[in-house]
């Protein structure tokens, strides 16, 4: 696969040429009638399931609404309630903990794996194997690890026995449940993230490495001075995607701990689900998702700013 062809912008001349061809009789409207036809289905989908719900979500967050009776406007009451809701703050804390652990381990491990793949082998089989967990559902992954990490019969605890370590209640211990879930999901996404980074590595021209090697730079030095800086735009994109994704952890929690023990894994997504579908508190749940929206937008903005995502060191080099 040549990634270059993917993200290289097409030469402007192509477009200009194609634009220039149609006879200039309906210059103002251009291809409007045909375009409307082509965009219509997607536009209907967009308005009905993205635009309208987004606006409606904002409105619902200002109401008291249990789905069965019409929403009643209550202004910013839901948002005020959030401030004093210790479950909300707990959910925020627990989610943050999850994100930090998940992203930390996933980033380090996937960069390492990507570099190893890049340097050692082009084998499709190896790449296929590491990608495998990504293909099966979160629910499947959660259940397999739920079994392997079981306190009584789980193979991991038997391994701990054998090593002379204490058995661990991975999902049952409130201090360990979140790290456990974070690591399980790292396992699922490691290969996928590594392959994204691997694709980025392949775009670095070999000549850069050759030059560095001629200068006698060590592998370690080449990694920090050449690979990482050149990889920055790709890393920025990968990080934004994975951080935003990991804020939305739900499936794993839903089938393993269901928020327990004692709220230790009640992440934001699960709390919103719980509020809306178990307690029929839709308005409040909508307010919470609005807050999550703002947080995610802020995180994405910060990340892109910090990593200067738009620029590539390649151009300057």
């Amino acid at each position: 696969m040549t990634s270059e062809t993917v993200h290289a912008a097409p030469p402007p001349t192509i477009e200009a040429a194609s634009r220039g061809t149609p006879p200039p009789r309906r210059r103002r409207l251009g291809d409007l009638p045909v375009a409307v036809l082509f965009v219509l289905p997607a536009a209907i989908g967009f308005v009905t399931f993205y635009l309208w719900p987004a606006l409606r979500g904002l409105y619902l967050s200002l109401t008291k609404y249990n789905v069965l009776t019409p929403p009643r406007f209550i202004g910013t009451e839901n948002y005020e309630r959030l401030l004093g809701d210790h479950l909300f703050w707990n959910a925020l804390k627990v989610t943050a903990e999850y994100v930090v652990i998940n992203i930390g381990t996933q980033t380090v491990a996937s960069v390492l794996l990507a570099v190893l793949l890049h340097r050692l082998t082009r084998s499709l089989l190896v790449r296929g194997v590491v990608l495998l967990p990504f293909l099966v559902a979160n629910v499947v992954v959660a259940l397999v690890w739920f079994w392997m990490l079981d306190y009584q019969l789980g193979v991991v605890n038997y391994a701990f026995d054998w090593l002379g370590l204490e058995r661990v209640a991975f999902f049952g211990d409130s201090d360990l449940a979140i790290p456990t879930i974070a690591l399980v999901n790292t396992w699922r996404h490691l290969g996928y993230t590594a392959l994204l980074i691997y694709a980025g590595l392949q775009m670095i021209p070999p000549s850069v490495y050759e030059a560095a090697a001629l200068d006698g730079a060590s592998e370690w030095r080449i990694f920090w001075r050449v690979t990482m800086p050149l990889l920055r735009p790709v890393m920025a994109m990968v990080m934004v995607l994975t951080v935003i994704g990991s804020f939305q952890v739900f499936d794993t929690v839903a089938v393993t701990t269901a928020g327990g023990p004692i709220n230790a894994t009640r992440v934001i997504y699960f709390y919103i689900y719980d509020l809306a579908f178990n307690r029929f508190n839709f308005g409040y749940a909508a307010a919470l998702s609005s807050v999550l929206f703002v947080i995610l937008a802020g995180v994405a903005y910060l990340q892109l700013r910090l990593s200067r995502a738009g620029e590539s060191d390649l151009k300057g080099a």
């Binding site: 340097r119 967990p133 559902a137 499947v140």
Partner: protein
């Protein structure tokens, strides 16, 4: 592939030195692969075990007290007495029904989403019309909106339309477009050679014809990529079908699995049954992977580096 300029550990180069760096690198790689594969093996091994006997042979590498019982239980083929004798739950996964539901949902979403998104992408990439860039920007901003924000109102909408527990209710939100699909395909359509299009136009072809006869065929690669990724995502989705498709008639495999898990008693879960069900749910994607492996692996690079 470039030649690794030095050994991985950065040792000084000597003629024919033992490549410690490569050895260390391969060791790590093999360990990662083992850690990746082991859970799949363990799932398989457990699914052929007798739940009752698992405690006695918890560390056995082979199935404990080999039996197809778990599969029979999950499929609802075994009697209650049989199930109890093997320490199983009476819960079943109506596998063929849920498999069919998963196929219907994932296929419909994939075909609809890719086709309608391709149409829109064509209009954004190859047609000239006032307001095009504004509308496209609007589509793009939707990429930023986290799903949960629209999921709750969408649930309300589907409920108001009376579509809870219908296929239509499950597929509708993703049937006509996703901002990502439109964005992704537009990138490729922009790069299609204008010469082809012109030649067709001189022959008197209209836009519809150009779209079907030129744009779609020359973009087969990216379209397949998008279709595969959409299929996987849709197949593995849990949250939305959990909300709108709980009813058995439209229940998909992921949701069924969650329900099966909650039916197995907390005290001593039916591990063999659970693993058999899990394997059933994972198998179709693994088969897809076996068939389309190369395509899927390559597609990961496509999507990330936008």
């Amino acid at each position: 592939m470039m030649a690794a300029p030095t050994a991985l550990a950065g040792r000084p180069r000597q003629a024919r030195a033992i490549p410690w760096g490569r050895i260390a690198g391969w060791t790590v790689l093999v360990l990662v692969m083992a850690a990746t594969l082991f859970p799949f093996y363990w799932m398989l091994r457990t699914s052929f075990s007798n739940t009752r006997s698992l405690a006695a042979g918890a560390t056995d590498l082979l199935p404990v007290d080999f039996t197809f019982g778990a599969y029979r239980r999950v499929l609802g083929l075994s009697t209650t007495a049989e199930a109890v004798a093997e320490g199983g739950s009476s819960g079943t996964v109506n596998f063929w029904l849920f498999l069919r539901n998963s196929i219907v949902v994932a296929t419909t979403v994939t075909v609809g989403q890719v086709f309608f998104s391709a149409m829109a992408a064509y209009a954004f990439a190859r047609l000239r019309w006032p307001g095009r860039d504004v509308v496209f920007m609007l589509f793009l901003t939707a990429l930023m909106v986290p799903p949960i924000f629209t999921t709750l109102p969408n649930f309300v909408l589907i409920k108001e339309l009376g579509l809870l527990n219908t296929y239509l209710g499950i597929v509708l939100p993703h049937l006509l477009m996703t901002p990502f699909a439109v964005f992704f395909l537009r990138q490729f359509f922009l790069g299609v050679n204008a010469g082809l299009e012109e030649a067709a136009r001189i022959d008197g072809a209209g836009h519809v014809r150009i779209f079907f006869r030129i744009i779609l065929p020359v973009s087969k690669g990216p379209i397949t990529t998008l279709a595969i990724l959409t299929y996987i995502t849709s197949w593995n989705d849990y949250f939305w079908p959990l909300l709108v498709g709980k009813d058995e008639s439209v229940r998909v495999l992921t949701v069924a699995l969650g329900i099966f898990r909650s039916q197995t008693p907390q005290g001593s879960p039916d591990w063999a049954g659970l693993m058999a069900a899990t394997l059933f749910a994972a198998l179709p994607m693994i088969i897809l992977f076996a068939v389309l492996g190369r395509r899927i692996i390559d597609s990961i690079g496509y999507t990330g580096v936008k």
